[in-house]
C-alpha cells in the first residue's frame, strides 16, 4: 500500500492500467498502445501500467470515479470492490497509489473515500468472519442469504486477509471454549 519496493502487496496493487493523455509526440514508443504505429502522436489516450504512468498526465480511473464514489457514499457495503479492480485486486492499495501520484489538489474529493469506505465495511467483514467461524464445518452459504454472499464476493484482497484473520481467531477461541481437557491432564 505504501510504495515499498519489496512489498508484494504494493506490486499487486500496481497491477492495473490507467489511461494517460499524451500531449507531445513520442517517437518509437507506439508499442505501448499495443497498435502498429511507430510513434505516439500527440493528442491521444493510451492505457499504461501504473508504475509507468508516474510521469504522465492521467484521469482518475473508473474504480474511483464519481459513480463509484456516489455508490460508496450511499451504501459502502453494497459496492463490490473486487469487481472494480479484478480478481485478487487491491482496491485500497490502488486508490492510495493514485492519490499519492496525483497532486493533493486534484484528489481532494477522493481523500476521505477509502478510509471511510474501509471503516463502513469493516464491521460487516468481521461480523461475517465470526459468523463463518461459528458455522464450523457445516458448510457455508444456504441460510446466510444473497446479500451476504455478494458482499463476501466483493471483498478486495486487503479485506479478504482481514476476514481470514478474524475467522481464524474466532475459531481458535471457540475451539478452546468447547474442548474439555479432563482427559489431557
Amino acid at each position: 500500500m505504501d510504495r515499498d519496493y519489496f512489498s508484494i502487496e504494493s506490486i499487486l496493487a500496481e497491477n492495473q492500467k490507467i489511461s494517460c493523455d499524451f500531449k507531445v509526440d513520442i517517437p518509437e514508443m507506439g508499442h505501448l498502445g499495443g497498435g502498429n504505429e511507430r510513434d505516439i502522436k500527440a493528442p491521444c489516450r493510451i492505457p499504461l501500467p501504473v508504475w509507468l504512468a508516474d510521469w504522465a498526465e492521467f484521469t482518475i480511473p473508473t474504480p474511483f470515479g464519481p459513480r463509484v464514489r456516489n455508490a460508496l457514499k450511499a451504501e459502502a457495503r453494497s459496492v463490490r470492490l473486487s469487481s472494480l479492480v479484478g480478481a485478487g485486486g487491491m482496491w485500497y492499495g490502488y486508490g492510495k497509489m493514485i492519490m499519492d501520484m496525483k497532486s493533493a489538489y486534484s484528489t481532494r474529493p477522493l481523500k476521505h473515500v477509502s478510509p471511510q469506505t474501509f471503516r463502513n465495511r469493516l464491521m460487516e467483514v468481521v461480523d461475517q468472519a465470526q459468523h463463518f467461524a461459528t458455522l464450523g464445518s457445516l458448510g457455508a452459504g444456504g441460510s446466510s442469504g444473497d446479500t451476504a454472499q455478494s458482499f463476501r464476493e466483493g471483498l478486495d484482497a486487503t479485506e479478504r486477509e482481514l476476514f481470514s484473520l478474524a475467522q481464524e481467531s474466532a475459531k481458535r477461541t471457540k475451539r478452546w471454549y468447547e474442548e474439555s481437557d479432563r482427559g489431557r491432564r
Partner: protein, 195 residues
C-alpha cells in the same frame, strides 16, 4: 517467518490457559503432604482439613485424582457474577473483572464444578457476560483510527480474540490516511487559499 499469519500477532488460548494456571487458588486437601519445592516456589504443607494456597495447575491435578476440594475464587459465584453482568449491561464501559477470569472460570468449571454451588447458572452468567462484552468490542470497530482504541478492563482472553483484527485494521487505516509528503500544514494553508 514461517509461522502462519494468525499466530504472528497473538498467542493461542491454550497458552493463555497455561499462564493463568500459575495463579494461586485455595484448596481443602484430602491427603497430607510435606512442604514441597517447585520451580515457581515452595507450596504446602497440606494438612487436611486446613485450607492451603497452591497454584491452579497443581490444584487441578490433585482434584482430578480426588485428593482435594477446590475453593472457588471469591468472584466465581452466582451473586457476584450477576452483579458484574448487571453492571456490564447497564453501562457502555467494560465492567471490572479479574484479568484472567475467562481461563480460570473455564478450567474450574471443567474440572471442579461439583465444588461450587449452581455451576450451570454460573456457566450461563459467564456466557451472557462474554456476549455482552463481545458486542461492545464489535461496536469499538466502528470507531477505529490509526492511534488508539480504549478498552479498559478487557480481560486477557477477550483481548487475545480481538487483537489480530484490531491490529490489522489499524495498520490498514494508518496506511490509508498517511500522507506521503507529510506536508499537512502546507496543505491546510492551501485549503484556505482555495476557498
Amino acid at each position: 517467518m514461517s509461522l502462519p499469519q494468525s499466530l504472528r500477532t497473538t498467542v493461542t488460548p491454550p497458552e493463555l490457559e497455561l499462564i493463568a494456571s500459575e495463579q494461586l487458588v485455595e484448596i481443602i486437601p484430602l491427603v497430607s503432604m510435606e512442604r514441597t519445592a517447585f520451580i515457581s516456589g515452595a507450596y504446602g504443607p497440606l494438612r487436611p482439613p486446613n485450607k492451603c494456597k497452591i497454584p491452579l495447575w497443581m490444584a487441578l491435578n490433585l482434584k482430578l485424582k480426588k485428593k482435594c476440594h477446590i475453593v472457588p475464587p471469591d468472584w466465581l459465584n452466582v451473586d457476584d457474577l450477576q452483579a458484574i453482568l448487571n453492571k456490564e449491561t447497564a453501562s457502555n464501559a467494560y465492567s471490572e473483572v479479574p484479568f484472567r477470569y475467562v481461563e480460570i472460570a473455564k478450567v474450574l468449571l471443567d474440572v471442579a464444578s461439583e465444588d461450587m454451588p449452581q455451576p450451570d447458572k454460573i456457566r450461563y452468567l459467564l456466557k451472557d457476560l462474554r456476549e455482552a462484552r463481545q458486542a461492545k468490542c464489535r461496536d469499538a470497530l466502528a470507531l477505529i483510527n490509526h492511534s488508539d482504541v480504549k478498552m479498559t478492563n478487557l480481560s486477557s482472553m477477550e483481548l487475545n480474540e480481538v487483537r489480530p483484527v484490531f491490529v490489522q485494521s489499524m495498520n490498514i487505516w494508518t496506511k490509508l490516511v498517511r500522507d506521503p509528503t507529510e506536508n499537512y500544514i502546507g496543505e491546510v494553508e492551501e485549503d484556505e487559499r482555495v476557498s
